[in-house]
């Protein structure tokens, strides 16, 4: 309780222009800096801004940061910095005005939609009372941002899915979905890198590996990157998949 009082005092000391985040302990060696309890674009912008601030002005003892939709998880070495000191620093950094993103990368990711590559496309169209082509057109028209990467290597959660494509997740998650799956779930769309379980609706696949071990860069996307999709046919996908296997990036970096 005294810790909570101390943190409250820190809050009061700040002449805040932005609302303070919640400082939540994740054990003795990590702090969750929470900006919202919901998926909220403004909160995600503040998460990514705090992440950039910590990259620009490193705090001694901070070992690793993990941006998510609504919070930044800050891992630290408690031998080098204690909870109270780091909490104060994070609160003050988090209330700095969110700077405009200076250099934003924008990727175009090719996707083969439907059929064996996107086994839920027909059902999604039926549920949303439209045609598969229309679903593809809407998905391709979107301008997305990497809100977070998590769960398994390279699994990129994108914000910016248009309202008409929001759908509850499947009642029964699948235990295995293919590598490169492009799917929608709730208010999100995503690029899944490795084969694995998923409760989302599978629209298609991309040859792009967001994580590939012996490639430079190993991880393609960064939290904050912008992403658009383009539709390709199955033959193109097969060619791109071979190229990607050989280490090509396949995704296009669009000059802004």
């Amino acid at each position: 309780l005294s810790e909570k009082r101390r943190i409250r005092r820190v809050y009061q000391a700040m002449a805040a222009t932005l609302s303070p985040p919640r400082i939540l302990p994740s054990g003795d060696s990590a702090i969750t800096v929470e900006f919202s309890r919901n998926i909220d674009d403004a909160a995600n912008q503040r998460v990514l801004a705090l992440d950039r601030t910590l990259a620009r002005e490193p705090v001694s003892g901070v070992t690793e940061t993990v941006p998510t939709y609504r919070s930044l998880l800050v891992h630290y070495d408690p031998v080098k910095i204690d909870f109270d000191t780091l909490s104060e620093k994070l609160v003050s950094f988090a209330q700095l005005p969110v700077p405009r993103e200076t250099k934003t990368r924008r990727w175009r990711i090719p996707v083969v939609y439907g059929g064996e590559h996107g086994i839920d496309l027909e059902d999604v169209a039926k549920t949303l009372k439209t045609t598969p082509d229309d679903i593809v057109a809407r998905h391709v028209a979107g301008d997305y941002r990497v809100a977070m990467i998590g769960f398994t290597p390279g699994w990129s959660y994108l914000s910016g899915l248009e309202d008409s494509l929001h759908m509850p997740r499947r009642q029964n998650p699948r235990l295995l979905t293919p590598a490169g799956t492009i799917s929608i779930g709730g208010v999100q769309t995503g690029v899944q890198c490795l084969a694995g379980p998923s409760g989302w609706h599978l629209l298609g696949r991309t040859a792009v590996r967001t994580y590939q071990l012996h490639r430079d860069p190993t991880f393609l996307l960064e939290p904050g990157d912008h992403v658009t999709f383009s539709a390709v046919d199955a033959k193109t996908f097969a060619e791109q998949d071979r190229a990607a296997e050989g280490g090509e990036i396949v995704a296009e970096l669009i000059p802004s």
Partner: protein, 350 residues
């Protein structure tokens, strides 16, 4: 070069080290040893730096044979019956396997994981600075998967150094200490009280990703779906069925269930060692106590090598001998040469 050939090994055994850090923002979990103190102790015994890659051996047994030369190894962590060509060997000591000799390990008792460190380490290709196996991500070297019979680990030839013993502090056996949060406000007072005052058991379905707990149902205040956020080793998340899961080093880097509390770093290895089916409790501590404990733990790791000494200089450790199941009238506890027990008996104990 010598090599250590795996003649037999149970599931949940893999090469582990201090883990790979710095890529959780890309969804890559650190992995690494379940019990870092035991890993460090085993490494110190053979003169390695503390978090050198070693073999993490799960609850079942193993048999490993030196080939193409002698191999010097050390065992720490969960106690188990161990012998080399019929000579019983104690935990927390180093030993040299002559070319062709086999180290046979029984089931873990009083723990789950043992660490077999090898003098000079294990030859492999580090990925993000680590040989640790993370089977889901296809990472780990020399094998990106749990170890199997027939696997061969390339190692340095044994130096011939005198064998050593490490004097570790007694393992505390009190409740596992936790810091409440980050999402303890998703639970009412009754649920938090139930969590802290109940006996828990670790389910047999647990693995390196998570330990499932068996006990009372912990109810959420507002449902079990939260927006995914970051996880740490020891995060205790509560899914929809109300049965908590403690996240372990192969965890997902993010998770969408409320996390009621987090195991403190100093108790994490002790928690990881609790065998399936054994009861234990949690106890909430404040941040000040948790941070004092983690600093003490870091100091213990930093000074671990000072606890290593020649085997002869150690006082007779009856407990260790009983643990190795060799204390009896037929042996002299102070003369290792008399610690003869048939290998078959060791295995029959399991």
């Amino acid at each position: 070069m010598s090599k250590l050939v795996i003649s037999a090994i149970g599931p949940a055994s893999s090469v582990q080290d201090g883990g790979r850090h710095g890529a959780q923002r890309y969804g890559l979990t650190p992995s690494g040893a379940m019990d870092r103190l035991a890993l460090a102790a085993a490494n110190c015994l053979v003169g390695n730096v503390p978090f050198t890659a070693a073999i993490e051996i799960g609850p079942f047994g193993a048999a490993l044979t030196a080939r193409e030369g002698a191999v010097r190894v050390a065992l720490a962590g969960a106690s188990r019956n161990a012998d080399v060509a019929g000579r019983a060997v104690a935990s927390d000591t180093s030993m040299t396997l002559a070319d062709g000799e086999t180290l046979t390990l029984g089931f873990a008792r009083g723990g789950t994981f043992s660490y077999l460190a090898i003098e000079g380490g294990i030859a492999g290709e580090p990925m993000f600075g680590s040989l640790a196996v993370n089977a889901r991500a296809g990472l780990g070297s020399p094998y990106p998967r749990p170890l199997q019979a027939g696997d061969e680990l390339q190692t340095a030839a044994a130096s011939g150094a005198a064998e050593r013993r490490i004097d570790l502090p007694a393992v505390a056996d009190g409740p596992i200490r936790v810091v409440m949060g980050p999402q303890d406000d998703e639970f009412g007072d009754a649920a938090k009280k139930l969590f802290l005052e109940s006996e828990w058991k670790i389910s047999a379905t647990s693995d390196r990703m998570g330990y499932r707990l068996e006990g009372p149902v912990i109810k959420h205040l507002h449902g079990h779906n939260i927006v995914s956020d970051g996880t740490v080793d020891g995060s205790i998340q509560v899914p929809g069925n109300g049965a908590p899961i403690v996240l372990m080093p192969d965890r997902g880097t993010s998770g969408g269930y409320p996390k009621i509390a987090t195991v403190i770093s100093a108790d994490f290895g002790r928690f990881a060692q609790i065998p399936a089916g054994r009861t234990f409790r949690f106890r909430a501590v404040g941040m000040a106590e948790a941070q004092a404990e983690v600093r003490k733990f870091a100091e213990l790791l930093r000074t671990l090598a000072e606890r290593v000494g020649p085997i002869d200089n150690f006082d007779l450790n009856i407990e260790a001998l009983q643990d190795a199941n060799v204390a009896g009238s037929a042996v002299s506890a102070v003369d290792a040469g008399t610690w003869q027990i048939p290998s078959a008996n060791v295995l029959a104990q399991d």
